[in-house]
């Protein structure tokens, strides 16, 4: 089941590649023709105005020298078929594997280095100050897409990218596909209402409340996030909990998003002093998620939702 959405995406990509290579070939299969048509239609759709977190942005022509400083945006760009138009991605954009990774930093962007690529569109998810201003001064169009707070916002971002890069229809397809799959997964795990969950961002007990994207995913399943009570401590939605609290709440499900950064595993977690009292540890409902999937809000969110749905089966079987 995990591979169907991936296969669908690959099919779209493949079709676009064929279309790009054989746009003169009238005997190409219908998808290719329609993609070619999409491309021409796309080119004709410019100039467009899209809305980013830095305000409206008008893009004159279809961009084909895109620099992405956001790992999520990179994934989305490739998913909607704009991968060819991307010339450089930041050092954290490790998916898909053939994305042109560079040393550019999304955390500490260097405007000069970015400008060196002579991009006609820059997409970022984080502006530590000076990035947007600096690029605007150089007349480089920049689209800022902050971390989406929920799925709807994430879908909107993908659609925006579609408009910005001339892949409106593919973007809609990707979003539709995501929505469908997520709805299926959520309804298949019905009966998980009220299950408590603890999402671990780090072994020092940093967690994410329902105000965050990943928190909203849990909300889809009707799960109760134990970090919500600590929401006041951190306006951004990432409070540091205390070990006592986690043990006393005894969550039914523990999701580890620190398996890569900090080497946490289900085994290590169950050995923590006092944690053997937690329901999730007793029943073995500890999920090891990939850090990057759990921290991005792009098309692979479906994988994360899948992971949760699968583990909820284990919970409801208690």
């Amino acid at each position: 089941m995990l591979h169907r959405p991936l296969a669908a995406l690959l099919a779209v990509l493949l079709a676009l590649v064929i279309a790009a290579c054989g746009s003169d070939d009238d005997t190409a299969a219908p998808p290719a023709t329609s993609s070619a048509a999409v491309e021409t239609t796309a080119a004709a759709a410019f100039p467009v105005t899209v809305e980013g977190d830095n305000g409206p942005l008008t893009i004159q022509e279809q961009p084909d020298e895109i620099v992405s400083l956001s790992a999520t945006a990179t994934e989305s760009l490739f998913a909607i078929g704009a991968g060819d138009q991307v010339i450089a991605v930041d050092d954290q954009s490790d998916y898909p594997a053939d994305a042109p990774q560079t040393d550019l930093s999304g955390f500490e962007p260097n405007v000069e280095a970015i400008a060196g690529y002579e991009p006609d569109l820059v997409i970022a998810s984080y502006d530590p100050g000076g990035l947007v201003d600096g690029l605007e001064k150089l007349d480089i169009p920049v689209l800022l897409q902050d971390a989406a707070p929920n799925l709807d916002a994430a879908y909107a971002q993908i659609e925006t990218l579609g408009t910005a890069t001339g892949h409106v229809e593919e973007a809609e397809e990707v979003v539709d596909s995501m929505q469908t799959q997520i709805d299926e997964l959520v309804s298949s795990a019905s009966g998980a209402d009220g299950t408590t969950v603890y999402h671990e961002l780090g072994p020092d007990f940093y967690s994410a409340t329902s105000d965050t994207f990943i928190g909203s995913v849990y909300g889809l399943f009707g799960l109760v996030n134990i970090a919500d009570e600590a929401g006041d401590a951190d306006a951004g939605g990432y409070p540091q909990l205390s070990g006592e609290y986690i043990v006393s709440e005894s969550p039914d499900l523990i999701v580890l998003a620190d398996t890569v950064c900090c080497g946490q595993t289900a085994q290590k977690v169950s050995k923590r002093p006092g944690w053997d009292q937690i329901a999730a540890v007793e029943s073995g409902n500890i999920v090891e998620a990939d850090d990057s999937i759990a921290s991005r809000w792009g098309p692979r969110t479906v994988e994360f939702v899948q992971l949760i749905a699968d583990s909820l089966e284990g919970v409801s079987q208690r």
Partner: protein, 357 residues
């Protein structure tokens, strides 16, 4: 002879308070402070276990009293596997930092000295940052070792640098320490920036935390703190003599360089071990000894033992605040010690200055 006898009579009539070390009153106050903070630390927390229930649980471990424990498995785990080791760690770290701070202030004759003066903090920070940035998978287990090694190396280099420049005069050593600390901090900042995604982890380590991995941490730290504070206490009278300066102390027969080395080595070892587990908790090492001086007197025979006790209790209370004020979230303890410690010290300063002959 007659004179001596007469003097001895006067002696017993007027006890030499300062020469006797810690007075009974202060010893009692210190002990009570430690006991009360420990009890509060055990009884209170983000999870409300109930003061009465905690008391019964503690008593149930005392033989022959026949008190049964009202706790469930979870509550028992919270109290004994999470809270108690945390309180114990607080006592050890607080005692160590405060006494090391007092010892440094004595051996450098500088009221602004704290246990991080010679580069211990910068070295520990660098060690921890390197581990966090470059070995994320192995992470947690290497961190204390790297921090400890970093602290010891930092001070060692500062000491050697000072010695090579010109003897072990206090100013030279302090300057060497400042130099080494600045350099190590620069390297640490660079390493931290190289792997920007771990910045939050590094920062949170630097601000300090008493979250433990259970009793094992406490048991590892205990011998370091015990040995270190024993050596410091052993030198407390000598610290008083050092107060009149290197020259005069030497003319009074004190081997100044050796004493300084012994005190710095012991204080650094203990501080490095404490910092390895708790991160760089600021403020305790400077403020507690000064508060003790203002309240109980300046002789190190008083300041060192009282700093031990008050430092431990103080840190336990600070940690209590850190884990309850925004419960169930927690604040980094370094923030709390500064935020609460500074006004408290201002109060002590105001109420005791201007009092006295």
């Amino acid at each position: 002879m007659a004179t001596a006898r007469a003097l001895r009579a006067r002696l017993s009539a007027r006890p030499e308070r300062a020469l006797r070390g810690v007075s009974a009153g202060w010893a009692l106050a210190a002990g009570a402070f430690v006991v009360v903070s420990t009890l509060l630390g055990l009884a209170l927390g983000p999870v409300d276990l109930g003061l009465g229930a905690v008391t019964r649980e503690v008593l149930s471990h005392v033989p022959f009293l026949g008190v049964s424990s009202p706790f469930s498995g979870t509550e028992d785990a919270i109290l004994w596997e999470l809270r108690a080791p945390r309180v114990a760690l607080g006592l050890l770290v607080g005692a160590m930092l405060a006494s090391a701070g007092a010892a440094y202030q004595g051996v450098f004759r500088n009221p602004l000295a704290d246990p991080y003066l010679l580069g211990a903090a910068a070295g520990a920070g660098l060690g921890a940052t390197i581990v966090i940035a470059y070995d994320p998978g192995g992470g947690l287990d290497l961190r204390p070792i790297a921090a400890f090694a970093g602290a010891v190396l930092g001070v060692g280099i500062a000491y050697l640098l000072g010695r090579s420049v010109g003897g072990s005069a206090t100013t030279t050593l302090i300057l060497a320490g400042v130099t080494v600390a600045a350099f190590l901090t620069a390297v640490q900042t660079y390493v931290q920036q190289q792997s920007a995604e771990t910045v939050q982890e590094v920062y949170s380590w630097i601000l300090g935390q008493l979250e433990t991995s259970g009793w094992s941490d406490v048991l590892i730290l205990l011998p370091y703190v015990a040995v270190s504070t024993a050596v410091l206490l052993w030198h407390r009278r000598l610290l008083d003599v050092l107060a009149v300066g290197d020259d005069e102390a030497a003319s009074l027969g004190v081997p100044v360089a050796r004493v300084r080395l012994a005190v710095v080595a012991a204080a650094t070892l203990g501080t490095a071990a404490a910092v390895a587990f708790s991160g760089l908790i600021a403020f305790v090492g400077i403020i507690v000894p000064h508060a003790v001086r203002l309240m109980a007197g300046t002789s190190y025979r008083v300041v060192l033992p009282l700093s031990l006790a008050f430092g431990g209790g103080f840190l336990v209370l600070m940690d209590l605040v850190a884990r309850t004020v925004v419960a169930p979230a927690q604040l980094p303890i370094g923030v709390v010690t500064a935020f609460l410690g500074a006004p408290f010290f201002a109060v002590v300063l105001r109420s005791t200055r201007g009092v006295g002959p």
